[in-house]
Amino acid sequence: MSQPRTGSLHWLLIMPLLCLLALFFVAPLYFVIERGFTDPAGAGLDNYRRVLDDPAARRFAWNTVRTAVTVTVCASLLGYTYAYATFKASRRMRVFLLYCVLVPFWTSLLVRTYAWAVMLRDEGVINKTLASLGMIDAPLPLLRNSFAVTLGMTQILLPFVILPCYSAMTRVDVSLVQAARSLGASPTKAFFRVFLPLTRPGLAAGAFLTFILATGYYITPVLLGGPGDQPIAVLIENAVQQQGDWGLAGALAALTTVMVLVALMAGWRSLTRSVLETGRKS
């Protein structure tokens, strides 16, 4: 395994990163959260009270959580299916499928989101096709609602589920599944009782990552969502840009940060396990 004696060399190697993050990441987080307590002068917990009493803030928070949960469920189901198909595919097919996972990474997120808006609108290609087939009389409302947001965000976050799932699958000892089969388990049963539990850490890692990233989304809900889909990020931006209310923005930022950290800690074990094992051969 790894070398036991490292002396203090590892400190030298991680020091630059620690310094950089302290100055340019931790300090900004600290200052924005501090604003929540000190702006206006002597605010104390007033900003937090305002957030909790504000029905709009509760609505935005609910939008954020609801969207994140929906996207996590969709991305997990589709991502696991896709990873399994990739795992089972022939070598050539596997290259193709893995390539398709990476394609979204290489197109600007803004542009992909806008492409959905163009396709989903009333005079977009989907509504036009359905109308010309005579399947609908009036255009379906596909844009500016939760459906569009879920679709757009699932598309963006799918790779974050597919990659850890696929990586977990490649580490599974296939003879275990064969053993279950030879002992009389049906293919379905062998999958659900042996294969799925063995790959669950990968799925859990992907799902946590998706949930955490989804809570921070801003661009996609703004471009694709309706008034009922706007997340906390929009509320923060409004507080800053329209009201210049840095105290409120600070309080909202603190609450969002806490939400992310709680989710991160809940998923800590599966995330670090998946991350630390990614490069390791079984």
């Binding site: 490292t6 340019f24 990441f25 924005v32 290489w106 803004l110 290609v125 801003y218 940060t257 992310v260």
Partner: protein
Amino acid sequence: MSLVARVLRPLPVLLIVLLLVLPSLVVVPMSFSSSQILEFPPQGFSLRWYEAIAGNAVWLEAARNSLAVALAVVVLSTLIGAPAGIAIGLWRWRGRSLFLGFALVPAVMPPMVLAIGMYITYARFDLVGYWGLVAAHTVMALPFVVLTVMSSAQLVDPTLLTAAQSLGAKRWRVLVEIVLPLVKGGMAAGAIFAFITSWDEVVVAIYLTDPTFKTLPVVMWNQLRERVDPNVAVVATLLFAVTSLVMAYVVLKGERKKRVQ
């Protein structure tokens, strides 16, 4: 298997493939449109929007700025992230997984929180603009460099290190002459991720740029919110073409390497 089942079985995967690639592909034909607005399917074929981009100082300037920021981010995040990735992947030490978690947190923080925090902090030190954005994007790109370098450092055979040391090599020499060449692949992958992270970042860039210094995503964002012409599609198509070629090369090379092993 019945015929129906054979036809239906690959269908879910096919739909997911479409979901993954459709938004990227739809942009390409839209960029060749001859009409005034961004639409799909496009009306008529022309190169007018490509000509418009080539002669548009705003887009060219923004592309130059984005490139300058992204290249600096690649260099800085590799210099700072690669040693940390090696330290995590190569050795076991106390606090290792805690440090890893800390190093990865910037990648999952809500961009809006980062954006306003960095804005008020960097503004105090007069860092809004080029260097501020470089610092911000380096923070956001580091997790990817740490991850990829760590993964390749984990694959380094520890007996190589022991052998080198028992032959009298100092620990620094072992790191530079043995470990570094072995994690080069991870560093390259990390560098690509770092580049894309910076190149595509919108939210933080909106706050840390000003009217005299804008990056490509910021210009795109402003365009998309005001009037929508196929300019955006042209830029997207050009970027898509370049990055897919790079990716095709990386994936094929990776597969070939695996086969050799």
